[in-house]
């Protein structure tokens, strides 16, 4: 069959397919109403595959084969679209997938936790010995700000906080903390160095702040402020660091896989943890903005904080040991 005849023969079919694809593509992803007239799409797509193979085999013009290739790619994209239900998976994720995924990369979480805790302990002890060393970790303005925030009696200065301030801080915590978590993950791809650096930096910063305020005997004001939201926040940052290290290690030592394949698997495995990190940081921002600044007796604040830590650790260590809805 000559090319012109071939085109005449199948052009009507391609036009119908094009119109069907245009309809599907303009449908902004939602609403499965009005599927009438689309039932024959798979059949048309398969015939198109055949025609495209013929056109190449017979050496028809590049313009025609390119057109058929493009049409085929568009049909393929529509045919293989997958839209899973979100809500049912969300529950399963919280009950089962997240804690399991966290334990799966326990080694990396342990390393990032160790780096974070050891660096903050080291800095804490150093500044206990040499109070002036706080200025080698943070600059004077930051130190002044810290002193103002936690000084002046117990939480006194924050008595005047309005609900507007709380909302502002809520937004700030979300932007800053989740950003730090994402960056820990992303920069881990540089053989883990970026993730380690962020753990080290944030650990030292926390250690310096705690130690300096303890030196000035503002300790209670500081610890009672951070203990509650610290549970989800610090856990989440350390977990994000673990994700980053996992990514980096896949490139350093891919094992039996090609590096790019190892990287792909590491990213896929770390993804549930990362989703969980987002949830934890949202919770942390909420607590930090609306609960932590409240002026309450120290016993209550420490009690609530300790309870949160316990619940979170129990959840991460023992959650999801059994499959939801029966099974193992």
């Amino acid at each position: 069959v000559k090319q012109r005849r071939f085109e005449q023969l199948y052009r009507p079919e391609w036009d119908i397919l094009t119109r069907q694809l245009e309809r599907l593509e303009s449908r902004r992803g939602k609403g499965d109403m009005d599927n009438a007239g689309l039932a024959d799409l798979p059949g048309r797509y398969r015939r198109l595959c055949h025609q495209q193979a013929l056109a190449r085999q017979r050496g028809y013009s590049v313009g025609l084969t390119t057109e058929l290739d493009g049409l085929m790619l568009r049909a393929h994209r529509q045919l293989y679209t997958y839209r899973p239900p979100i809500l049912s998976r969300l529950r399963r994720f919280l009950v089962h997938d997240f804690p399991v995924a966290v334990r799966e990369q326990a080694a990396w979480n342990l390393i990032s936790t160790a780096v974070f805790v050891l660096s903050s302990l080291l800095v804490f002890i150093l500044i206990q010995q040499q109070p002036d060393m706080v200025f080698s970790v943070m600059n004077e303005d930051t130190v002044d700000q810290l002193e103002q925030m936690y000084g002046q009696g117990s939480l006194g200065s924050r008595g005047a906080r309005t609900s507007g301030d709380d909302a502002t801080m809520f937004g700030f915590y979300i932007m800053n903390n989740i950003g730090v978590a994402f960056r820990s993950f992303a920069s881990g791809i540089f053989f883990g160095v970026g993730a380690l650096f962020i753990m080290l930096f944030n650990g030292s910063y926390l250690g310096a702040a705690a130690s300096h305020l303890t030196n000035l005997s503002f300790g209670d004001s500081f610890y009672s402020f951070v203990i509650a939201h610290g549970a989800p926040e610090l856990t989440a940052i350390v977990l994000a660091g673990g994700c980053g290290l996992r990514l980096g290690w896949a490139l350093v030592s891919p094992g039996r896989f090609a590096r790019i394949e190892a990287l792909r698997q590491a990213a896929q495995g770390a993804l549930p943890v990362l989703y969980g990190v987002i949830v934890l940081l949202l919770a942390a921002a909420f607590i930090e903005a609306f609960w932590s600044p409240r002026d309450l007796p120290l016993a209550i604040k420490y009690g609530v904080g300790a309870t949160l830590w316990c619940l979170l650790l129990i959840y991460l260590f023992f959650g999801g040991r059994r499959m939801p809805g029966g099974g193992r």
Binding site: C49, R58, T66, L73, I260
Partner: protein, 226 residues
């Protein structure tokens, strides 16, 4: 032949051709998205300025969402395209040609932070140049590709051939047929001189003008115009 196409076998046994998009269209798409984001920031700033402290909080959340999730949501829910990618007619797909999933979109866009390092997507550019499939680090981790989406428009041209039949002096191979079909199809994009020059290669014993006419008749007959 220099080929920027990646061929993928689909479950139907068909050979899917993915035309890979290089750094230039992708950078252009990114710039378009940047402008859109800037306009969005401006609108948010004007709107939330009226709301005081709550407004500042919302503004910060808005900045966070636009910075990190603008490409994630568009690519996940809009056929793998951000508005910028749509204007450049490129889209993100998985390496097997299937549409981008939410997970894939999240991984490739979170790793933008790494690709951007140290500035202006330098790491991403180097990775793309080293990859055989124009993948930046995020694409490698998410196993995704950026491809051109061909909307089917093609130059509607063919060579005008005089009457009469022409037979080739040599047995036509598949490559010859493709070359001939390509010549006929692109004839209107070439100048007359260039057409004659090319045709002269096929029939060096004729004058360029005669060669062109003969080649046109040959192509027309092969394609089935007459």
């Amino acid at each position: 032949m220099i080929d920027e196409q990646l061929h993928v076998r689909t479950p139907e046994g068909a050979d899917l051709a993915l035309p890979l998009a290089g750094p230039m269209p992708r950078a252009a798409a990114w710039l378009v998205d940047l402008v859109i984001r800037m306009v969005a920031y401006l609108f948010m700033a004007l709107l939330f300025a009226l709301l005081g402290g709550v407004g500042t909080g919302l503004m910060l959340i808005g900045i966070f969402l636009l910075e990190w999730f603008y490409p994630v949501f568009f690519e996940a829910f809009w056929h793998g395209q951000t508005p910028g990618k749509r204007t450049m007619k490129i889209a993100v797909v998985h390496a097997n040609g299937t549409p981008l999933s939410f997970n894939g979109s999240l991984v490739r866009n979170l790793l933008r932070a790494a690709d951007f390092f140290p500035f202006a997507y330098l790491t991403g550019l180097v990775a793309m140049m080293m990859s055989t499939r124009f993948q930046r680090l995020g694409d490698m981790a998410a196993d995704t590709l950026v491809v051109h989406i061909n909307d089917g428009a093609r130059p509607d041209s063919s060579l005008r051939a005089g009457p009469g039949k022409a037979l080739p002096d040599w047995p036509l191979t598949l490559a010859d047929r493709k070359t001939l079909a390509g010549f006929a199809e692109r004839a209107n994009q070439l100048t007359e001189d260039r057409r004659r020059e090319l045709a002269h290669h096929a029939f060096p014993e004729l004058t360029p003008m005669q060669a062109e006419q003969r080649l046109a008749r040959l192509a027309a007959q092969m394609l089935g115009d007459q």
